[in-house]
Amino acid sequence: MGKETRTVIVAGVGGQGILLASNLLSEAAMEAGYDVKKSEIHGMSQRGGDVISTVRFGEKVYSPIVGLAGADVILAFEKLEAMRNLPYLKKDGTVIVNDYRIDPLPVASGYMDYPEGIIEYLRERVKTISLDARQLAEKAGNIKTMNVVMLGVLSKSLDIPEEIWLRVIERRVPKKAIEANKVAFRLGREVAENAEL
């Protein structure tokens, strides 16, 4: 077990299953014997705003949040949110980004443009794993498993055994969605195995 505290920022848009994903991550880390802290913001963000959840684990974790350049991994469910949170990533950190676009209101109502080439922008600066999690979730048989696909990718770079992940998934997702979520997790994990960093 690593002594150093690891920090994952899970970022996306309200309704994308961010809080469930960060709950699964926290439980898996606890079950693997780590001290864990997780922080998130409710309230206004439930109305389609951006949502971030920070999960930190290690031998002993003090603060539940990090500031600028504080996170080891950004797990972004939407690509604009990956970019938004880049200042919070350590310079040698990793971005795992779902190549998926949700227009924020200023874009949808024509006041601003959605930035082009976000994935390339990220790749030029930092270790980046990009994937189409929506497509993989469809392949797993349930579009709602997008968040677990993302966790599958993340899981490869964390020191938490695969069987713990699967146990936590079994415990936490609705019964009839367990199989789809397990498939989704493995599909995500394969992405990380094949990724060239």
């Binding site: 848009v13 309200g14 926290s26 439980e27 606890m30 001290d35 864990v36 802290k37 997780k38 922080s39 998130e40 913001i41 409710h42 309230g43 206004m44 963000s45 439930q46 109305r47 389609g48 705003g49 951006d50 974790v61 003090y62 603060s63 539940p64 949040i65 990090v66 500031g67 600028l68 350049a69 504080g70 604009l80 949110e81 970019m83 938004r84 880049l86 200042p87 919070y88 990533l89 310079k91 227009d103 924020p104 209101l105 200023p106 874009v107 949808a108 109502s109 024509g110 006041y111 601003m112 443009d113 959605y114 930035p115 600066r125 930092v126």
Partner: protein
């Protein structure tokens, strides 16, 4: 030992249960809401939603009179509402343990200010605990119950967003069963006539001396020996940030932050070369330490920001000057929260904007009507503020010798906010011959904080039927004659009624009614969606001005409706002047039909 990952709020509820808590009530408010929601799982606790923070504290105090261990929870500004009984409760004390939980919101994630409620402890002379993680939140809550009885005082538990909404590992304990003693009158203690209150004030001062002594030896206040060159005093979440940055330093960790332990502070000061006071918000600890003349250099708010939240990076930079090396990004579109697709508030704000009304607003989801493109709300002050604010503008305009109707004044307030504190200003306006129009947005739920039941929904926190308040009868009962309940989606009627009433020389109340689109009975259904025909769309921009998240603009400036987000409410169909928008399947269920069914259900309940 059984362990669980709990949020600070869940841990407070757990601590109350373990400590033998009997009764808890609260008005919802971020970041405190989940405390009461989490109480529902404990059958031994009677938990219920209150109409506002003042009533919640009064009821809890009454339960304490009868010996029940009681708790109220509220967001920081809620304690302003409950301040009156809070100060009195300090004089009266606690027969059954009485806990007041305040959850402050540094950084204003979901609040109108970042007031620091630690001053309330000092001000009302009520002892205060501040946990630094979930386990402490549970333990302090549990122990405060018996301490409250022992010292005969209400006890303040002060949390912040990052305590309430952070999860950490908690060791779970068993429940201590405590009997409710039952009500016995105690006139001299509980009737604060001046003759009694004078004596009670003396009791409070004696109690404070005993509490000071207790704070000196309390397990939660302690020196953590380390490098003597830096001494850090910290409370709440700031302790964790500071510990992260300076793990080797000598710490004075304070879980009880009123009254403060003078001797312990002096002992700490004698061990270190200089003191950093790391606290979010006001210089509460710093002011106290400076006044003690400790003879050691103290560094506080000249380095640590007074505004916003702290985090380890900010603490490090403030105290060491070390700047983080991070990726700077160009300006990108922000992602503000928005009213949902199918939200019944949208057409109301759309109409108010078209009528060029001057709108005073209030606290709730509908405050989002202030943001572009709706931009239909000028003010948002505090819970229930809209009605009085609009009436005040009316008075000043009339005093200029003008007809205030020319200002098209409208106060907009949600149903839950109206019950909370909108009724009394409406009585004021009615009594003093005001004429301002009040629109109550009635979606029959407390939506913003996550769909809590309220007096208009007719269901209690525990999910059992409660009595329903009839909003229209309530308003008519005050004496307002012009009361109109209008379907929020009937834009033609709504526009006519609003336009007529803002020009009326008498007070009027318009109840714009539709169930929240996120209500469980609305959300579980499958809806069709609307399609915009690009051939017919003239790019007139009217539907874009609804600010509906499902509607976006294509590259060639045509309307496009996202079928994944659209719930088929038909509001954009009504707004479109060229009939370019239509339902994918006009025979399928949509949010409009579903809302009517739910409304029908509500109407049936009313009879």
């Amino acid at each position: 030992m059984k362990k669980a990952i709990l949020s600070g709020n869940e841990a407070i509820a757990r601590g109350f249960w373990e400590g033998g808590g009997h009764f808890a009530n609260a008005y919802p408010g971020t970041p405190s809401t989940e405390i009461l929601e989490s109480m529902v799982q404990y059958p031994e606790i009677r938990a219920q939603w209150a109409v506002n923070e003042k009533t919640s504290l009064e009821i809890a105090l009454g339960a304490s009179f009868a010996g029940a261990r009681s708790l109220v929870a509220m967001k920081h500004v809620g304690l302003n509402v409950a301040a009156d009984p809070f100060f009195s409760a300090s004089y009266i004390g606690a027969t059954g343990g009485l806990l007041v939980v305040t959850c402050d919101d540094p950084g204003m994630h979901s609040s109108q200010n970042e007031q620091d409620n630690r001053w309330y402890a000092l001000h009302a002379k009520v002892p205060m605990f501040e946990p630094t993680d979930s386990h402490e939140a549970k333990e302090l809550t549990r122990q405060a119950l018996s301490l409250s009885e022992k010292f005969d005082t209400p006890w303040l538990i002060r949390s912040t967003t990052r305590i309430s909404h952070s999860l950490s590992i908690v060791e779970l304990g068993e429940r201590e069963e405590v009997e409710i003693k039952g009500y016995e009158p105690d006139f001299e203690k509980r009737n604060l006539l001046p003759v009694n209150a004078r004596k009670r004030h003396e009791v409070v001062e004696e109690r404070t001396l005993k509490l000071r002594e207790f704070a000196e030896n309390f397990w939660g206040n302690r020196i953590e020996e380390g490098d003597p060159s830096i001494g850090i005093v910290a409370n709440g979440i700031s302790y964790q940030h500071a510990k992260e940055v300076f793990p080797e330093a000598t710490f004075l960790k304070l879980l009880m932050t009123w009254p403060l332990p003078d001797e312990l502070i002096r002992e700490f000061a004698s061990k270190v070369k200089k003191i950093f006071v790391v606290e979010e918000g006001d210089p509460y600890l710093e002011t106290y330490l400076r006044a003690m003349n400790l003879g050691v250099e103290i560094i506080g708010k000249e380095k640590i920001p007074m505004t916003g939240e702290l985090n380890p990076t900010i603490v490090r930079e403030a105290l060491t000057g070390e700047k983080p090396s991070y990726f700077e990004i160009p300006k990108i579109p922000h992602r503000p929260p928005a009213l949902c697709p199918g939200c019944p508030h949208t057409p109301v704000f759309y109409i108010l904007k078209r009528l060029k009304a001057n709108v005073t607003g209030d606290i709730g989801c509908y405050t989002l009507g202030a943001l572009p493109p709706l931009s239909a709300m000028d003010t948002c002050v505090e819970m229930g503020g809209s009605v009085g604010n609009a009436y005040g503008i009316e008075i000043a305009e009339a005093m200029r010798g003008l007809d205030p109707r020319k200002k098209k004044l409208v106060a907009v307030i949600g149903d839950s906010t109206f019950y909370h504190s909108g009724v009394t200003p409406l009585i004021d306006l009615f009594y003093n011959n005001g004429i301002t129009t009040v629109i109550i947005l009635d979606n029959s739920i407390t939506a913003m904080t996550g769909h809590q039941e309220n007096p208009g929904s007719g269901v209690t926190l525990k999910g059992v039927p409660g009595r329903r308040v009839d909003l229209e009868k309530l308003v008519r009962g005050i004496g307002v004659e012009h009361v109109y309940t209008v379907d929020s989606f009937d834009m033609k009627t709504l526009k006519e009624v609003i336009n007529r009433e803002i020009h009326r020389n008498e007070p009027s109340v318009i109840i714009a009614k539709r169930p929240c689109v996120l209500l469980p009975q609305m959300k579980k259904r499958k809806y069709t969606y609307a399609i915009a025909d690009p051939e017919k769309c003239t790019s007139c921009t009217l539907c874009w001005k609804l600010g509906c998240p499902a509607i976006s603009v294509t590259k060639d400036k045509k309307t496009w409706i996202n079928p994944d987000l659209c719930v088929g409410c038909e509001v954009c169909i009504d707004v479109c002047p060229v009939d370019a928008i239509y339902l994918a399947d006009p025979n399928a269920d949509n949010a409009r039909k579903a809302g009517e069914e739910v409304l029908g259900w509500v109407k049936k309940q009313e009879q």
